[in-house]
Amino acid sequence: MRALTWQGRHDVRVETVPDPEIVNPRDAIIRITSTAICGSDLHLYDGYIPTMRAGDILGHENMGEVVEVGAKSPLKKGQRVVIPFTVSCGDCFFCKKQQYSACDNANPATTSDMSETLYGYPMGAALGYAHLTGGYAGGQAEYLRVPYSDVGPIVIPDGLEDDKVLFLSDILPTGWMAAENAEIEEGDTVAVWGCGPVGLFAIQSALIMGAHKVIAIDHYAARLDLAKRLGAEILDYREVDVREALFEMTGGIGPDACIDCVGMESHGLGIDNLVDTAKAHTFLGTDRPAALRQAILACRKGGRVSVPGVYGGMADKFPIGAFMEKGLTLKTGQTHVQKYSQKLLEMIGEDKIDTTFLISHHASLEEGPSMYRHWHDDQDEYTKIVLKPGMERVAA
């Protein structure tokens, strides 16, 4: 089959690779109909995530048609399914608590040593990400092996086209969980750093959950415009002092909840961020937490900070004083996708949630490498790219 493979920093290529096979009885194989490029794929593209290996197939936001099933898969050939990016067994302590992204069994025994060393406990697993999280091939390809296919895949009813449901794989539940972790109450103001796909869905979710006001922070005009259309007030952090602006816009109280949808590759103008950038490039430290620092400083006393943005290593100058003295609550984590699948699918079916507004580009799989380049270089115009392996190549 054809597949988009990671070869190194800023180097992805479409290559012919072996087709996936059923390995375990609970497996299924799907023919990919849509697969999106994620903001977190940029961390791989930029070489910030350790344990990638040349040749790895990318892609964790996948959907398609079931073409093959193992002996214990309940799926049927021909069914349309969206695949959560988290691999979860459904049987362990964590899965039973619906903490699916913390699954204790999905990361193979040989790859889970790395995260046990790095983080103290073996991590869960994800499709199309680094070997730290299992080394599973992703779905930016013609076919995908889906482990534990009785737990993850969401069967899509006829009549809902791919673009409406594809983001159930990651960014929609990720935005939803980010808002849920912000524990929104009536009258709350929620500030959201980063208006990429997850940020936009977090804004949408916060408003659905009853936030009185959402304030969105970014510097890309097109993304801020999308946030405004969802109903948020917007801030360009290059124009204003964010903390002061939030202070003023909340009458001196501060946002009740702050959501960092930026993560480790934060832009930002502060001197601390310049130092972090230098460190990241020399691999002395890995994460640039400019948005997180700002969120902690801007958050009201007793407020909540929710972090869906991806961090991988250590961060300097975490404002622990402000965090403790103000009595903040911090909630974070990779998304427990399976926990939210059914509810969000229903809301999509009832037109309570629209996810299609985000998609700026459809492209063939063969155009993948140029799409990664655009996604990296031109985040203003490219808000979300969906690759369609079945699609004819359009002139690049």
Binding site: R13, P18, P20, N105, P108, A109, Y136
Partner: protein, 224 residues
């Protein structure tokens, strides 16, 4: 059905691959890393913590690892007590022949494609509580171990605690070398217990075997 973990992703070079061997219970094959001393040795030392002695700081001849498995103790004990089952979850065990109620014969993969073999005898056996074993007197690979099945918090299943005696030749340096070669018994024990947990909880041994753009690898190839 091949329930051995199948992996498609080669890790490390050929030399390392050749040197990687041995399983938790087997320890480093070809070298007598284990001593035959009984696990009770050292129990006289002062110890005020409630933690297992294997967590002791510094040089420690005890290897220990505890894993919680969401199954009743009886079920896990039954699986373990039929030693022939262990070959399914222990990476480098080729097969275990059960000779009688107490004795079994172990065939373990060693570096370079060869195997090492020894006889093991059960020294303690309390159904659904514990099993202890040691290699028989004539074995050139000396080892002893015990597995205990402890009640976890209500609803969480069973804590499975594996303890083995380990005294590497060359002391700390020997242990470091063993670690670099990924044949350190503690690491093997950790991985084997993870596979045991996967198999008993999910019915499969988790595998990320999948295609890649590394042409030298076929999807089903094992790399250790």
């Amino acid at each position: 059905m091949d329930i051995k973990e199948r992996r498609g992703n080669g890790e490390g070079d050929a030399l390392q691959r050749a040197l990687v061997g041995a399983t938790a219970v087997a320890a480093a094959a070809g070298a007598a890393l284990f001593i035959g001393s009984k696990l009770r040795s050292g129990r006289g030392e002062p110890w005020i913590s409630d933690a297992p002695r294997s967590t002791r700081r510094g040089r420690n001849s005890l290897i220990g690892r505890t894993v919680t498995i969401a199954k009743p103790a009886q079920e896990i004990y039954d699986f373990w007590r039929d030693f022939s089952n262990l070959a399914q979850v222990m990476e480098n065990v080729e097969r275990i022949d059960v000779i009688d109620q107490r004795q079994s014969h172990w065939v373990v993969k060693a570096p370079g494609g060869s195997t090492v073999e020894w006889d093991s005898v059960v020294t303690e056996d309390e159904p659904s509580r514990l099993i202890a074993w040691e290699s028989t007197k004539g074995s050139n690979i000396r080892n002893s171990g015990r597995v205990e099945f402890l009640d976890a918090a209500p609803g969480r299943g069973t804590m499975v605690r594996l303890t083995m005696v380990y005294d590497p030749p060359g002391g700390t340096a020997g242990r470091l070398v063993a670690k670099l070669l990924q044949r350190e018994p503690a690491e093997q024990a950790r991985r084997d217990l993870r596979r045991l947990k996967q198999f008993l909880e999910t019915g499969e041994i988790t595998s990320s075997t999948s295609p890649s753009g590394r042409r030298s690898e076929s999807p089903a190839k094992q790399y250790i």
